[in-house]
């Protein structure tokens, strides 16, 4: 059944859209990643203009994060205090990101920056996680428990001023590195047009040793707030949010996120990290292939804009 989308200005199959939303929602609920780095390219692939795809993805991610974070909240798996600290940094990073984005666009290097940072980020995060989770699984296989944190061990940045105790996450650290982390994620997220969950989750696990069970809920909370801000910016500045496209994706997405969050609870920490690593790596490979492989067509149409 074809449905004409009033802002994207093309008809698409209703069930295809719901299915796409559902698949991305499942991944989003499972891993606590927004799924923007999957949904945006997918929408562009089916013909949605790039600005509409980026803007509308943020609505879908917001909805998926609501349902996902509610599930985790009910299981007491959200650290609100930690989330709030990340959001404060994230807001600052978003502003910096918008500024940088426009500067690079003026200089004409945006394409290069986006593609190279996508590949570098996804590949390095993916490889690091894959190596770690495989090592952990291998050791566990030999019946040795490997705690992520050795008792009493502290990293230098955790000892900086403005120390705060996060009871839910069982960590005690200076909030400065957390604000910086939020800021960096907000910055990268804005420039690349993604929520940044695939960076927050590994960073909290590996840099701050936050338990996996709490990380996902907290990451979803941070993504939710970021995406609400992004939706407002996209709707008012770029005017590219398609409410009908968002509705179909959201209907699929919120259902998918439910199943994802449920499945996520039954996964072991190392399994979770291995699967997320594989997902991130495969997307990284796809982007790498995009720039390494010879293009089928050297020319492409980048933008078509109607004069108003």
């Amino acid at each position: 059944m074809q449905l004409y989308l009033p802002i994207a200005e093309l008809p698409l199959n209703l069930f295809l859209l719901i299915g796409m939303g559902g698949a991305i929602g499942f991944i989003s609920g499972l891993f606590g990643v927004g799924g923007g780095f999957l949904l945006t390219p997918l929408l562009i692939f089916v013909g949605v203009p790039a600005p509409v795809a980026v803007a509308t993805s943020s609505v879908h991610i917001a909805a998926s994060s609501v349902t996902g974070s509610l599930t985790y909240w009910r299981r007491n798996a959200v650290d609100f205090k930690l989330g709030l600290v990340l959001i404060v940094g994230g807001a600052a990073g978003t502003v910096l990101g918008v500024f940088f984005f426009n500067q690079m666009r003026k200089l004409g290097h945006l394409d290069l920056v986006i593609t190279l940072s996508y590949v570098t980020l996804l590949m390095s995060v993916g490889i690091l996680m894959l190596g770690e989770s495989l090592r952990a699984m291998f050791r566990q296989h030999r019946n040795r428990t490997v705690p992520l944190r050795l008792p009493g061990e502290h990293r230098w940045y955790e000892g900086l001023p403005l120390r705060m105790r996060f009871h839910r996450s069982k960590i005690s650290t200076s909030i400065l590195p957390l604000v910086v982390l939020g800021c960096v994620i907000g910055f990268i997220g804005t420039v690349l047009g993604i929520g940044g969950g695939f960076l927050v989750v590994p960073a909290l696990i590996y840099l701050f040793r936050v338990p996996t069970s709490v990380v996902v809920g907290t990451s979803l909370l941070q993504i939710l707030v970021t995406m609400i801000i992004a939706t407002f910016l996209h709707a008012t500045i770029s005017q590219a949010v398609d409410v009908l496209l968002a509705l179909t994706l959201v209907v699929g997405g919120v259902i998918g996120a439910q199943f994802g969050a449920r499945t996520g609870q039954s996964l072991k920490g190392e399994q979770f990290r291995l699967l997320l690593a594989l997902l991130i790596l495969s997307v990284g490979f796809r982007f790498a292939f995009d720039i390494v492989g010879a293009p089928l067509d050297r020319f492409s149409i980048n933008a078509v804009e109607l004069e108003r």
Binding site: T71, I228, V250, L306
Partner: protein
């Protein structure tokens, strides 16, 4: 031009009717619709142009019969074409061209392949092709490559259509032209330019037009998004949160 005359002319174009004085041949056109309405179920449209070639006793006899060619030109806009180049191991966008004021939909209709109807010079004079709306480029130049890529890619996207079977002669002086509009064709005013030729020589031209626009729910959404963006954003965010919450409540087991 006086105001009533201008209004009458405007009305004639609006109605898709154009009448020329029958000195040699004349044409009368009528379009099957003046407005293509975009609704939620819109998947493109088909518009039929009916045309009558007027002749009288004084008209020169045309042994070879008539050929009809028409162009359908949509609203204009900007198209950006980019080209990838190999830098070390990677392929990156190295160059791009901006084409301003390009018709975002263009269709050439004819009774038979254009090459059989008329020569290159007449085609250029009648502007039968999107290439005549682009800046000229010397063959072999960089510019030429971009220009050709634009034409080729727009053809693949169905924003540029050549159809040499779209016009059917029902009788030697009566024809229909079928305009196929894909769903991605932009909203706005479309101009139909039609020419009657005999033995490659254009005899008469006529113009008609139609409008593509969103109506009902789709128009409401597009207008709200454009003119009340804050309300639109608020509604969208509220919808996302509400649906997320409902799904969570429905699926909750504990």
């Amino acid at each position: 031009m006086s105001a009533p005359a201008a209004r009458a002319l405007l009305a004639a174009i609006w109605l898709g009717l154009a009448v020329s004085v029958p000195r040699a041949e004349g044409i009368i056109l009528a379009l099957s619709t003046r407005e293509v309405a975009i609704t939620s179920t819109y998947t493109g449209a088909e518009i039929t142009v009916f045309g009558l070639i007027e002749r009288d006793a004084q008209t020169t006899p045309r042994a070879g019969g008539y050929d009809i060619v028409a162009s359908v030109r949509g609203p204009t806009g900007e198209v950006v074409v980019q080209r990838k180049e190999k830098y070390g191991p990677v392929w990156l966008t190295e160059n791009r061209r901006r084409y301003a004021k390009v018709p975002l939909f263009f269709s050439t209709l004819s009774t038979k392949p254009l090459a059989l109807v008329t020569d290159e010079e007449t085609r250029s004079r009648l502007k039968l092709g999107l290439e005549f709306y682009l800046p000229t480029a010397a063959p072999g130049s960089d510019e030429f490559g971009f220009r050709n890529a634009l034409l080729r890619l727009r053809r693949e996207e169905r924003a540029l259509i050549d159809d040499d079977k779209a016009i059917t002669m029902i009788r030697p002086d009566l024809f229909t032209a079928k305009i196929t509009l894909p769903a991605t064709a932009p909203t706005g005013l479309y101009v139909v330019d039609l020419s009657v030729l005999a033995e490659g020589v254009p005899l008469r031209t006529a113009q008609g037009g139609f409008v593509v626009r969103k109506v009902g729910f789709d128009a409401f959404v597009a207008n709200t998004a454009r003119f009340s963006p804050w309300t639109y954003a608020l509604f969208t965010v509220a919808m996302a949160i509400l649906l997320g919450w409902i799904a969570n409540a429905v699926f909750r087991k504990d």
